[in-house]
Amino acid sequence: MKANRRELLIGFGAAMLTGGLSRLAEAAAPGSWVLYISAADCRVGRTWEYDHRAAFVQGLQKNGIGFRTVTVSSLRDPREDAAWPADLKWIRDSYPNMKGTPWFFLISGRTIQIAANSTDMWRTRLAPMAA
């Protein structure tokens, strides 16, 4: 029995897909949640909220992943102390060079699984979790 090239490619693709999904599942373990950092003067963030936020949060919920938001006054200072709840400050403190907005973090327990600092990175690294 000889597998032809097409079957091999399909098999390879399936293996890649399975591997990718299992990695995603690992990253988004039960109890995981996404933290979104936005700024009042960041139009990129505002546009993302308008275009994608509702569907993304809904998809996350469907997969048992939570969602929280921190909104800072200005993209000048995404580390603004007053904007960060006490229970989230450890995330901010993990990124001392945090610059600009938006930011997206996938959190599992006390571990940052994924950090994305643009909507492009969100699209490739976090959006699949809401699929």
């Binding site: 960041c42 139009r43 993209l75 000048r76 600009g100 990175m121």
Partner: protein, 146 residues
């Protein structure tokens, strides 16, 4: 040996020109994080022209903060000052005129801070500083014709 030296020179000179043009401020021209600042002298002060490359945009609500890093008394207005608009992004090129205090030609360092929204989907603060002494011999024509 001469050929090797010539080759090295050919590599080194364009490299130096590129880094000088990108990081330096020859004649008041700077590019940082896709934000372009051109500063030129006018009869009564300087004119800053802000624009972008690579599809970046300047946040309107964030505004443009102008700060005199040195010799603040040389300017005919209180610095720092911020120019902001309600629209999502500034219409570019953006021209900002700064008038000198009567007859003063004292050089100083001026900084422009903007919120630069990058095509990758993020907005970051960008600071561009220019020494006005460096533009003393620059073109007197208005740089913001775009």
């Amino acid at each position: 040996m001469r050929n090797i030296l010539r080759s090295l020179l050919c590599i080194a000179v364009p490299g130096a020109v590129v880094s000088w043009a990108e990081a330096g401020e020859p004649n008041g021209h700077s590019i940082v994080d896709n934000v372009v600042l051109d500063l030129s002298t006018t009869a009564d002060g300087v004119t800053a022209c802000l624009s972008t490359v690579q599809g970046a945009k300047l946040s309107g609500p964030y505004g443009v903060a102008v700060t005199a890093l040195s010799a603040p008394a040389a300017w005919d207005e209180a610095l720092p000052k911020t120019v902001a608009v309600e629209e999502d992004y500034f219409t570019l090129p953006l021209r900002i005129d700064l008038k000198r205090r009567g007859g003063t030609a004292e050089p100083g360092r001026v900084q422009f801070e903007v919120g630069a929204c990058q095509p990758q989907g993020m907005c970051i603060p960008v600071e561009l500083a220019v020494d006005t002494a460096r533009i003393a011999l620059a073109s007197h024509s208005a740089p913001c014709a775009g």
